[in-house]
């Protein structure tokens, strides 16, 4: 039997808890650990029990538990169960160490790379309360976000909209936007200091696997992060492992062209890095700037063994997931090989001119593009590699999508099976 003194203590604790609960409680982290009545940065079993009992009594005696109290209880139970009773410190790609006192239940995601990678991690999309313009512009790949509040573009966020959504965290780029990212973070946190601004790029081959691990920790999907990173790393290792055995002098000379005619890539660009990873020798690798517009004659002079043309953005905004009609890609291909003087280029002579869509060359799916490049550069070395199958596995297993790449979309041209023929 309990003594009356113990009840007095319990009511005292309840009183203290009530005073804490009376403070500002919002979905956004306030920086204090929920239910931590004594402020020791730990949620004790007794602190959680008091909260449970108080909630039950209010609920069942007609007083009704308020949303703030219930939110604290649920978050406190989560922290107690999954975070070893205390706050969790996570890292982002900009080097910030962020201490989370609650799980992220309301996220604003500005960039598609983060949204896509969160999906690979199995993060519950219903926790996302607002997304960037470019995510909304891609309803085929991001159907779950159709109709969701638009928080503007990564370059021009709608700050008022972001704050009105009371997010726990806003996800933006890390280094991609240089100082613009800092400006966005400062603006958001000046409007509400409790909002965490977490920054990840999630498109660079050198850092993607590591960033997956960091993001997985933030959204509490570490096991899924490990599995997905292993899948990603396995694909990349397939390429890098085999390419490492190819001597430099035997590397295939490659001409890469973006969606703008004769706009190529050089050191310092992501496109160049992907060519190098796939074992190619970029004929304009030493040019400046990182995206040089080259002289058409210099392409003839470079005599590339393989030509890779990018579609899916700029003037060539077709193909990819949203497009089942390959006629424009076919037309593009025809115009390429008919360019003045190009019949003398080795790549054209050998039928090694390829078009690749930005949907599988940029962002988190860059590994699929790299697999395509490797199979084009060294068909014998990568004879057993089928990028289309890997692409489908990625969509089915990690993106949880029903999209069938064998019957939808235009990702590369000529298609692999037409080359086989």
């Amino acid at each position: 039997m309990k003594t009356p003194r113990r009840y007095q203590c319990a009511w005292l604790v309840l009183l203290i808890l009530g005073m804490v609960a009376a403070g500002p409680v919002s979905a956004a982290g306030t920086g204090t650990l929920p239910l931590d009545a004594n402020g020791d940065a730990l949620i004790s079993s007794d602190e959680l029990a008091v909260s449970v009992l108080d909630y039950l009594e209010k609920k069942h005696t007609g007083m009704g538990a308020d949303a703030g109290q219930y939110g604290d209880l649920v978050d406190g139970a989560y922290v107690y169960t999954y975070w070893n009773k205390t706050a969790k410190t996570v890292l982002d790609s900009s080097g910030q160490a962020v201490t989370l006192t609650r799980p992220i239940r309301r996220a604003v995601v500005m960039n598609g790379e983060a949204a896509e990678t969160m999906r690979s991690l199995g993060y519950d999309s219903t926790n996302v309360v607002g997304v960037g313009k470019y995510i909304l512009d891609d309803p085929v790949f991001f159907p779950e976000y159709a109709g969701m509040p638009n928080v503007g573009s990564v370059w021009s966020p709608d700050y008022e909209q972001i704050i009105s959504l009371s997010p726990d965290a806003v996800f933006i780029y890390a280094d991609f936007m240089d100082s613009k990212g800092d400006e966005i973070q400062e603006t958001i946190q000046s409007m509400n200091p409790a909002v965490h601004v977490l920054r990840y790029d999630l498109f660079e081959p050198d850092t993607y696997a590591k960033e997956v691990g960091l993001l997985a920790a933030v959204v509490d999907r570490e096991d899924e992060g490990t599995r997905f990173a292993a899948f990603y790393t396995r694909q990349m290792d397939t390429v890098t492992g085999r390419v490492a055995a190819i001597p430099d002098e035997e590397r295939v000379p490659v001409y890469f062209e973006s969606s703008d005619d004769f706009k190529s890539c050089a050191k310092g660009s992501g496109y160049h890095d992907k060519i190098i990873i796939a074992g190619g020798q970029n004929i304009f690798g030493n040019a400046t700037p990182a995206y040089p517009v080259v002289n058409p004659e210099s392409v003839l002079f470079g005599n590339p063994a393989v030509v890779v043309k990018l579609q899916g953005n700029g003037k060539l905004d077709f193909g990819g997931y949203e497009d089942d009609d390959s006629s424009k890609t076919t037309e593009l291909y025809g115009s390429l090989i008919k360019r003045p003087g190009w019949k003398t280029i080795q790549a054209v002579k050998d039928g090694r001119v390829h078009i690749i869509d930005t949907d599988v060359f940029g962002g988190p799916k860059h590994f699929i593009g790299i697999l395509y490049l490797a199979t084009w550069f060294y068909p014998d070395v990568f004879a057993d590699v089928n990028p289309e199958e890997v692409h489908q596995e990625y969509l089915t297993t990690y993106q949880h999508s029903m999209y069938d790449v064998t019957s939808h979309g235009v990702f590369v041209y000529p298609a692999a099976h037409s080359l086989d023929g």
Binding site: M1, K2, R6, A10, S45, D46, L48, A49, V50, V52, L53, Y55, L56, E57, K59, H60, T61, L73, V74, A77, Y78, Y80, T81, Y82
Partner: protein, 231 residues
């Protein structure tokens, strides 16, 4: 595989599964009883029937097991009168393994705690109500005293705070002391000293019997669909 090519199948006129079992039994017992040509055919048909039954039972049992597993998630309750002591009961809660959980009970009259496995700060009595917090334990036991429980009903609700699961149950004690565990839409009677838990589970035997009957019907349909005999 399948039927031998030299047997011509004609439409059956409503042969049931039992008939095929009898035939198959005869085949098994004595091959000489039926001509060799028919024996092979019946043997293959018997295999087909057995396959249908086997897989039907297998799939149904798997589904039943999965459903039972799902039904058993959550907190289950039992109430057992304390032998030889009037108005005292052992109330047990089990299954709160999904994380911190709360249990709230409303008794038909004043209730007191004689003893419990819960820490003192993890439950709270208030006249006819009892609130419990299961924090690090998936189960608990409370030795309670409630004079009005006999011929009354104890209403229980539970809630888990990490996955949002919740549920309700009721336990009634008749004026003769028989404990019945109730759940919304379901009723199950137990007996004193042999408490049951909610949700109520269907008898495995009844389920299996039902499944076998369905399988027999399926086998009959299969046999009918495959055509008649080789007479």
């Amino acid at each position: 595989m399948g039927g031998s090519g030299n047997t011509r199948r004609t439409p059956d006129t409503g042969c049931g599964a039992i008939k095929y079992f009898i035939i198959a039994f005869r085949i098994t017992m004595s091959n000489s009883f039926i001509k060799q040509k028919s024996t092979h055919y019946y043997y293959m048909k018997f295999r087909g029937i057995i396959s249908v039954i086997f897989f039907t039972v297998l799939i149904t049992c798997a589904g039943t097991a999965a459903a039972a597993g799902g039904a058993e998630s959550g907190v289950l309750f039992s109430l057992e009168p304390v032998t030889g002591v009037e108005d005292e009961y052992i109330l047990s809660c089990d299954g709160a393994d999904g994380g911190p959980a709360g249990v709230f009970g409303t008794f038909p009259g004043p209730v007191s705690i004689v003893s419990t496995t819960l820490p003192g700060s993890h439950y709270r009595l208030n006249g006819t109500t009892l609130a419990c917090a299961l924090i690090d334990e998936g189960s608990c036991s409370l030795h309670i005293r409630c004079a009005d429980l006999q011929a009354g009903t104890l209403s229980l609700s539970w809630e888990m705070f990490t996955d949002g699961l919740s549920g309700e149950a009721g336990i009634s004690v008749s004026d003769t002391g028989v404990v019945s565990v109730l759940s919304p839409g379901e009723t199950s009677t137990g007996s004193v000293g042999n408490p049951s838990s909610t949700p109520v589970q269907q008898s495995p035997f009844a389920c299996t019997l039902f499944t076998v009957m369905v399988s027999l019907a399926a086998a009959g349909a299969y046999a009918g669909g495959r055509g008649g005999d080789s007479r």
